[in-house]
């Protein structure tokens, strides 16, 4: 069988498939359902300095071809993460790699989480969730070029571990943000986080989601995710984790051909907990069927026709 392993972030990934942040808890919750340690790895639910209660219900609802969530970054907080969650990951995952998803509302917040975890065992690196409001600037870190650049440089200085920035989709040109991360010293990118969305309960004339708005994920956003991955990959040379709507090997391969080295499966795991395993197996079958020996040959290999693309689609 073809070789699905890759050397990335200084280690070997046995599989290109990881579980996306917020969709696999802190790993433990899925341990009985899938062979976690045979995957590429997982990204934890966001960790912030203080524990967060999160948003009122309803927190999740189905949308056409996807779902919307507004969990509100509920998490146990830094101390409890170190005391209660990291030990399980350390003990139970030998080959799958763990990224800790980090969230904050000031640069200091992020730096505190990264600084404190840096010396701990049980994970590989950080995935920085910049789709959260910057209380200093009033925008999201992920949509503010200056704030993002400052944050990445600050965190780069606080850790030698792999530092991956998870990009926000609602920007005019994701390539600009990809380059900012690269220049700030990031080791990789995750593309993409959810799209802001809202559902209205027309019978009760109120928002369905307790938080009014939430993030849209699932197959509905697949073509956007593939596009943003391709843009990011075309704009910098960092390795990318492609995320958004991946259900099967074909979806994952779209991301890989568009330029991502790894992929993350999120919402699809809710529909079928085995989704990540199926994706992994399907990629192997694809490589065999196409006589491709190593997955790395495929990364970013989509053939773009000579004619310059016209962005004026419509």
């Amino acid at each position: 069988m073809a070789d699905l392993s890759q050397q990335l972030f200084g280690v070997e990934f046995q599989s290109p498939v990881l579980l996306a942040s917020g969709t696999c808890g802190y790993g433990e919750e899925y341990a009985d359902l899938i062979p976690l340690d045979e995957l590429g790895g997982l990204v934890t639910k966001a960790v912030s300095v203080e524990p967060r209660r999160g948003n009122p219900p309803h927190r999740v609802s189905e949308t056409p071809g996807g779902m919307i969530n507004a969990i509100g970054l509920e998490n146990v907080g830094l101390d409890a993460f170190v005391a209660d969650k990291l030990p399980w990951l350390r003990t139970n995952l030998q080959r799958a790699h763990v990224f800790v998803n980090v969230v904050g509302w000031t640069e200091d917040d992020f730096a505190e989480v990264v600084g404190r975890l840096d010396g701990e065992d049980g994970f590989l690196g950080f995935e920085i969730n910049v789709s959260c409001p910057n209380v200093t600037g009033g925008t999201l870190f992920g949509t503010d070029e200056r704030a993002l650049g400052g944050l990445v440089r600050r965190l780069r200085a606080s850790t030698g571990r792999p530092l991956v920035v998870k990009l926000t989709p609602n920007v005019p040109d994701v390539g600009v943000y990809a380059r900012i991360c690269e220049e700030g010293g990031a080791d990789g990118l995750s593309a993409i986080n959810t799209f802001p969305g809202m559902l209205v309960d027309v019978e009760r004339r109120c928002p369905v989601i307790g938080n009014v708005s939430g993030g849209v994920s699932g197959p509905a956003i697949l073509p956007m995710g593939v596009y943003l991955t391709w843009r990011a990959a075309s704009s910098c040379s960092l390795p990318i984790m492609g995320i958004g709507g991946i259900r099967n090997a074909e979806d994952a391969l779209q991301y890989i051909l568009a330029g991502s080295s790894l992929v993350q499966v999120g919402t699809a795991s809710f529909v079928d907990p085995q989704a990540s395993v199926t994706v992994h197996e399907g990629i192997g079958q694809y490589l065999d069927r196409h006589g491709v020996e190593r997955l790395t040959e495929l990364v970013g290999s989509v053939e773009i026709p000579p004619r310059p693309p016209d962005p004026a689609a419509g």
């Binding site: 899925y30 219900p57 309803h58 999740v60 609802s61 969990i71 509905a220 259900r247 529909v271």
Partner: protein, 234 residues
């Protein structure tokens, strides 16, 4: 539905997530939670289905032989430990877990009654099925009296403070039962309904307000709670 593993392990009050998987062309649906309504010795599971929206509408047109994805049994069941009289209060499709529970509890020697309320007769689930599964302990109530007794199902509760109350149904009904339990000093376990995505504790989507001010996941900590574990609006 056939699933010998789930059927064997299931306890009343637990639920299953029923989904359509990822392989049907053009179809994407999150799985939906359903209380286990009954089980058979040959590994079959039953649920009561009431059509609300998209998901249940799609399920209602499933035919014998169609494949679905079943995850379960999930959640914490009703805890009917000590041998004391049990009074089950069911509103609408909240009847489902009690069909399962009454049979098991009677077999275990409990004295059980089941109060089952609906808006009106057309909503009432098949009385023959109910009789078969519960051995005739079910009392039907409808708001307009078009079937069974007339009134709200909560009117049927006997204020005996030794009884263990179990309730499942619409939020307004649960509140009324909780108020009743508080006033009469009864123990009450409620099975709550909140939107779910994963059903197994990973998404944190299914929270209900806990008594301590925290949000509690209803899929893993519930769906059955002691009423004192939750905050009830007053």
């Amino acid at each position: 539905m056939r699933s010998p593993d789930i059927a064997r392990a299931a306890e009343p009050g637990q639920f299953v997530m029923i989904g359509f998987g990822l392989d049907t062309p053009g179809v994407f649906m999150l799985p939906r939670p359903f209380s286990i309504g009954w089980r058979s010795n040959d590994g079959r599971l039953g649920i009561l289905l009431r059509v609300f929206g998209q998901g249940t509408r799609r399920m209602s047109v499933l035919e014998r032989g169609d494949r679905i994805l079943l995850l379960g049994p999930l959640g914490r069941p009703f805890r009917t430990g000590a041998e004391r009289p049990i009074c089950c209060v069911a509103g609408g499709v909240g009847l489902a877990p009690f069909l399962f529970l009454v049979g098991e509890a009677r077999a275990a020697g409990h004295d059980v009654t089941l109060l089952y309320g609906e808006r009106s007769a057309p909503y009432v689930f098949d009385p023959a099925l109910i009789r078969e599964l519960t051995g005739g302990v079910a009392q039907i109530w409808t708001e307009d009296g078009s079937a069974g007794s007339r009134g709200l199902v909560t009117q049927g509760i006997d204020p005996d403070d030794d009884v263990l109350l179990l309730a499942c149904g619409p939020t307004l009904m649960l509140r009324a039962v909780a108020a009743f339990a508080r006033e009469n000093g009864c123990d009450l376990q409620v099975s709550v309904e909140e939107y779910m995505a994963c059903g197994v504790g990973t998404c944190q989507g299914c929270v209900v307000p806990g008594a301590d001010g925290r949000w509690i996941k209803s899929c893993t900590e519930g769906p059955v709670f002691d009423s004192r574990e939750l905050t009830w609006p007053t």
